[in-house]
């Protein structure tokens, strides 16, 4: 069963400088009980993708074409009220900044009770569920924690509370938008392990956004590599990391400091910068920065399936 299937999704923002094509023919799937990672540098469209799924695109943005099918319903064509009813119980989100994700003037207990406003449980039962969730994310003295305010917790604890809140309604899909980026390295590891445990326990799928390759490799079953609003490569984490078939993925892996085997004075980078999406270059989106560019790259490359499930949008990719 597929929980989330995105097909040929195009998102366009109307800006003063003309239409900005933020997402172009994005397709991928999140199967049931799997963790799918989305990786890409800043500005590649990760956040736009999340907002499109959640139905929270900015006012000037719209889904131009394509479909986002979630549990059999097409979110791209659902009205606002219907998507709103899915957010929370079926589809929930953890955000990047744990400092800002909790309302500073409301106690944690009340915020957790607020999330359950749709259920008819009595107050005490809701609190009991909140305590149970806080225990699951390993908040010490959970009963007391309900009475506290967000500023009384550390950043890591706040992020765990945010995760507890997101998983409280046992959603089918958890979207985690760089949930570990604002945390330090040790916390990052524990948070990742926690997410993995909770995912297995609740049995939900996770869409995990990050620009940290190590975290993706550690946590995710599948990975989607995005560049400038396009999915350039997707497949199982093992396949994509082991046999990168798009030059961008290969360069990205080369740039990961964790993969450097010898000391260098300068870490490798990918020369050039992201293209202006208002004036999208013809042909391959990565051509301008690609070191293996060919004449044929002036045309848009097809999605080539390297092995079943592993797809790269590049002329160089070869079916095996």
């Amino acid at each position: 069963m597929t929980v989330l299937a995105i097909e040929n999704l195009n998102v366009v923002f109307a800006t003063e400088g003309g239409d900005l094509h933020a997402l172009r023919d994005v397709s991928f799937k999140v199967p049931e009980q799997r963790i799918v990672g989305i990786v890409g540098e800043s500005g590649c469209g990760k956040s736009t993708l999340i907002n499109a799924i959640l139905g929270l695109l900015a006012e000037n943005g719209r889904i131009a074409s394509g479909s986002i099918s979630f549990e059999g319903e097409d979110l791209a064509h659902l009205d606002d009220k219907a998507i709103q009813d899915l957010r929370g119980p079926r589809l929930s989100t953890v955000f990047q900044d744990p400092m800002g994700a909790l309302n500073p003037v409301i106690s944690v207990g009340r915020q957790m009770r607020n999330i359950q406003y749709r259920s008819d449980l009595a107050r005490a039962e809701k609190d009991a569920r909140s305590i149970d969730m806080l225990r699951q994310v390993r908040i010490p003295d959970a009963a007391q924690a309900l009475k506290r305010y967000p500023h009384e917790f550390s950043g890591g604890m706040k992020q765990r509370i945010a995760i507890a809140m997101a998983l409280m309604m046992e959603p089918a899909l958890l979207i985690a938008d760089e949930p570990t980026t604002a945390l330090d390295a040790t916390l990052e590891v524990t948070t990742i392990e926690l997410l993995k445990d909770l995912q297995a326990e609740i049995g939900c799928s996770v869409l995990f956004i990050s620009h940290h390759l190590g975290v993706i490799a550690e946590l995710c079953d599948d990975v989607v590599v995005m560049y400038a609003g396009e999915v350039v490569e997707r497949g199982s984490t093992r396949q994509v990391f082991g046999n990168p078939s798009h030059p961008y993925t290969a360069r990205l892996l080369d740039c990961d400091p964790a993969r450097q085997s010898e000391r260098t004075r300068q870490l490798p980078t990918i020369p050039g910068e992201l293209p202006d999406l208002r004036r999208r270059p013809e042909g391959c989106i990565f051509a301008a920065r690609c070191d293996r560019r060919m004449d044929v790259c002036a045309a848009i490359p097809p999605d080539i399936e390297v092995v079943p499930g592993h797809v790269a949008r590049c002329f160089l990719a070869e079916s095996q």
């Binding site: 009813d85 957010r87 955000f95 900044d97």
Partner: protein
């Protein structure tokens, strides 16, 4: 934020304690409580009917019989001041409350609603603000006639634009905050977000501002009544008493004093209270403004 915040009750108690540690705060509280006491128990405290005319006793100076003397119709000024306090304080409290409610609602709509509505409402606020208070009062009284309702409407019109603007600005900032996005992503509806997440974050500062505005409201009521635009005679009002005494100020100054002193005392009391409240709840602002 302070350490005791984990328990809201204790935090509130600590705030009250700090308020009572400030001499100015104690002074303000005392004056306000005194005035409230006088207004609430006006019927018991006054020996005379506030509106009872007694031509034989006109223009009497302060004495044990008439603590503040009598006016040109022989009415006991002490009784009139107490009953005038009722009018002043009830107008002040009611119209401030009304301005708060309307200001908060309009501010939330302007801050959270679509851009065109925001612009329209700002234009509306600014046009109201551009009227001088007295001109606004005159215009309204010309339309509806002098009455307490006219006073309340003037006060609300004067206060609402400022309150709404404060709420609007803070709402605009909170709209982009991550916890609002988080609430949205958890399926909260717009009314729910405004009520649960935005409101509690914006009302605190506004309440303090409103308590500092009460003296202004009292002055507006007194001023309008003085000009004959507020309560109708013979209803006692501090402004009306001032007006009664004004013509006879050379021979019998106590009438003006009887009308003026309570205005000064109440105004000072609420100002001190408001400023101390602000300092207690936001220590960073101490010594400013």
């Amino acid at each position: 934020m302070y350490a005791a915040a984990s328990d809201p009750k204790r935090a509130r108690l600590a705030a009250v304690q700090r308020l009572l540690r400030e001499p100015l705060g104690v002074f303000g509280v005392t004056l306000v409580v005194l005035m409230l006491f006088g207004a609430i128990f006006a019927d018991w405290l006054s020996i005379y009917e506030p509106n009872k005319i007694s031509p034989r006793d006109r223009f009497q100076g302060p004495s044990w019989d008439h603590l503040l003397g009598t006016d040109q119709l022989g009415r006991d000024l002490f009784s009139r001041v107490l009953h005038g306090g009722r009018i002043a304080l009830s107008v002040a409290l009611f119209s401030t409350l009304a301005s708060l409610v309307i200001g908060i609602v309009l501010g939330l709509i302007a801050g959270y609603g679509p851009r065109w509505l925001d612009n329209l409402m700002l234009l509306f606020f600014d046009s109201i603000k551009s009227f001088p208070t007295v001109m606004l009062a005159l215009a309204l009284v010309t339309l509806f006639g002098p009455s307490l309702t006219a006073v309340v409407i003037v006060v609300v019109l004067v206060n609402v634009p400022g309150y709404a603007r404060i709420i609007r600005t803070q709402t605009l900032a909170l709209k982009e905050s991550e916890f609002v996005t988080a609430a949205l992503s958890m399926g909260a509806s717009t009314p729910r977000i405004l009520r649960v997440h935005v409101m509690p974050n914006v009302v605190g500062p506004l309440l303090i501002l409103a308590s500092m505005d009460i003296p202004v409201v009292i002055a507006i009521e007194a001023g309008m009544s003085f000009l004959g635009l507020g309560v109708r005679p013979p209803t006692p009002s501090w402004g009306a008493i001032l007006n009664d005494g004004f013509t006879a100020i050379r021979d019998t100054p106590w009438i003006v004093l009887a009308g003026g002193l309570p205005i000064i005392i109440t105004t000072l009391g609420f100002t001190f209270l408001g400023e101390t409240l602000r300092d207690v709840f936001d220590p960073r602002l101490k010594g400013r403004g």
